[in-house]
């Protein structure tokens, strides 16, 4: 029972970052119809920015975190403007191939810039864990969880409470009508991609100091983001939030009770099983064809 509680707590802590990754990806897919293969690279970018700023430049941990997120937003905007803005009329396969090309180039650029050796990032939190009765959790994980929740709430606020958010929702519902009503579709796309990328970079910047940073770290993160998004249904933000926690729980339990070697396979198995038995995802209403 105690073990189960501990697994549940670990899953809760991890689920926040998974949700962050998933929300970014689902926003980009829902609004832009782009399967974003560079998502994991933005995650790795966030982690490496933390490494560069904290370990190399000696910037304060919290300032570095904010800076890493801002840089992620900027990189996302740049990618959208350079690569995707001219492909808005292209079909989904074409943009997917461009994103795969960008993914390979980015990942190897990271390897070139930071070498392939995994690096760790210091954090300012006490090493002794927070003990809650029978279970315990490390302080830096509590911070990661809190920040993830904060960013998720902020994203909800942006989407439901601002003018930009309204334009994004309108584009999601019906792009042509939104354009006719005067929504700048191009600007919405750039903003969406920048926001989604910023969330991925934030997840990387938060988890980088918990684990280690290495060039191909984005691959697993991207795969998990896809699993989260499919769990929740493509385009659904509440689905992605819940999906993040479900995936974390399945992974924790799988690693705890089946085999830790298959921890990372759980997400993929979940994708296959869900698509076979409940192809619309757990929360979406749309068809899965096309």
């Amino acid at each position: 029972m105690e073990q189960l509680l501990q697994h549940g707590l670990n899953a809760l802590m991890l689920g926040g970052t998974y949700a962050l990754l998933g929300i970014g990806l689902t926003l980009i897919f829902g609004i832009m119809r782009v399967v974003n293969f560079t998502h994991g690279e933005l995650y790795a970018f966030g982690a490496y920015m933390m490494y560069g700023l904290v370990m190399k430049a000696g910037v304060n941990f919290f300032a570095a975190l904010g800076l890493a997120i801002v840089l992620g937003v900027l990189l996302g905007a740049l990618l959208e403007l350079v690569l995707l803005s001219r492909l808005r009329a292209a079909d989904i396969d074409t943009t997917m191939l461009v994103m795969i090309g960008a993914w390979i180039a980015l990942q190897n650029a990271e390897q070139l810039a930071w070498t392939g050796v995994a690096v760790s990032i210091n954090n300012p939190f006490p090493a002794a864990p927070l003990v809650l009765g029978p279970v315990s959790v490390a302080w830096n994980r509590v911070f990661v969880f809190g920040m993830a929740l904060l960013l998720i709430v902020a994203t909800y606020k942006v989407i439901n409470g601002t003018k930009l958010g309204r334009a994004m929702r309108a584009t999601f519902q019906d792009r042509d009508t939104a354009a006719l009503m005067g929504v700048q579709i191009g600007a919405v796309h750039t903003a969406t991609f920048a926001l989604g990328s910023g969330l991925a970079a934030a997840a990387g910047a938060l988890l980088g100091p918990v684990f280690v940073a290495y060039p191909s770290m984005g691959d697993l993160a991207a795969a998990k983001a896809f699993a989260v998004v499919i769990l929740g249904g493509l385009g659904s933000i509440p689905g992605a939030t819940l999906g993040g926690f479900i995936l974390a729980l399945v992974e924790e339990l799988g690693a705890g009770y089946i085999s830790s070697g298959y921890r990372d396979a759980m997400g993929f198995l979940l994708i296959i099983v869900i698509l076979l038995f409940r192809p619309t995802g757990l929360f979406a209403r749309k068809e899965r064809i096309g």
Partner: protein, 327 residues
């Protein structure tokens, strides 16, 4: 008719290479390019004709390689507590058939899924499938040796003749490539091939004239997977060592880039793309640049090809010739 003669002359010219070129390293590069061209041709059937972007294609390649290696080495594995599956070492040709069969079975499974999910979803399912396969190969140490890899895989030998020397393997790969090319050409020009193209172009219209979606998609994936499995089988018994890295996504990317650059949905496309991208790494290596830079060049080229040659090289050349003959 003229095309057939040109093609036959081309194959003969390729077959003569080991007779006048003594460099074993270059021959190795050509063999690997040939194996990847077979895989690219198989991907083209799915991507170019049936219109399914399968980004887990390397799974079929890897399953073929592993299955064939395992059957030729023999294995003993506990499936459930108390149930032990033991297979004696089989002759290599039989193991090769088993490898292709295993890949084909996976193709059948994926084809059934493709019926349920399309587009972006199918892409993600196929990638997931390949990743699960890689993680199983990495973790099921009892069967696959995990990261220690399967070693000492025997080379193919038929009636006492072993395909050990590079020229003989080269001819074997060339023969298989030609066989696969002819098979794909026949499928594409048959009723089934036209049905696949119809499905890719306009599915509602195709179903409304009575084309059975499931049947042709499953047929396409099974043939394609078996062929990719054959490429994996050739790889396993040529390199003679198989590790979980054969499932890496980057190989799927290499295959896709070959097909797309050459021209998806054309018979010659994967070959043109395969020659370019099969030989390019060696060219880049000769320029002594680092592997990371090599991959960056790959990625950038992929983006540029989609922007400037969206149909690929072969259709672009055809268009050029048509324009010239019109004036």
């Amino acid at each position: 008719m003229r095309a057939t003669i040109v093609a036959a002359a081309g194959v003969l010219a390729l077959a003569s290479i080991p007779l006048w070129m003594g460099d074993p390293y270059l021959l190795h590069v050509l063999i690997m390019a040939g194996i990847f061209i077979i895989a690219a041709m198989s991907l083209n059937l799915l991507l170019g004709y049936a219109g399914q972007l399968s980004l887990g294609h390397v799974a079929f390649f890897g399953v073929g390689a592993y299955a064939s290696a395992l059957f030729s080495l023999g294995f003993r594995v506990q499936v459930f507590p108390g149930v032990v599956l033991a297979v004696e070492a089989k002759p290599v040709w039989l193991a090769m058939l088993a490898g292709m069969l295993a890949a084909g079975l996976c193709g059948w499974f994926i084809g059934r899924i493709a019926f349920k999910v399309r587009g972006a979803y199918f892409v993600i399912v196929s990638i997931s499938f390949a990743e699960v396969a890689r993680l199983v190969a990495l973790n099921w140490v009892e069967l696959t040796q995990g990261p220690m890899a399967l070693n000492n895989i025997p080379a193919l030998s038929i009636a006492g003749f072993a395909f050990l020397k590079k020229p003989s393997v080269y001819w074997l790969v060339l023969g298989c490539s030609v066989a696969c090319f002819i098979l794909i050409a026949r499928i594409v020009h048959s009723r089934a091939g036209r049905a696949m193209v119809a499905l890719a172009e306009n599915e509602p219209l195709a179903t409304s004239v009575g084309i059975d979606v499931t049947r042709y998609l499953v047929l396409a994936t099974v043939v394609s997977a078996t062929m990719a499995g054959a490429a994996g089988v050739l790889y396993a018994h040529y390199v003679r060592i198989v590790d979980p890295d054969v499932f890496l996504f980057i190989y799927t990317v290499t295959m896709s880039i070959m097909v797309i650059t050459g021209g998806k949905g054309t018979l010659a496309g994967p070959i043109v793309g395969g020659v370019i991208f099969g030989l390019m790494p060696e060219g880049l290596r000769a320029l002594a640049i680092r592997p990371e830079t090599q991959w960056i060049v790959y990625g950038v080229l992929m983006v540029l090809v989609v922007y400037f040659l969206p149909q690929g090289i072969v259709p672009a050349l055809k268009g050029l010739r048509l324009r010239r003959s019109a004036t």
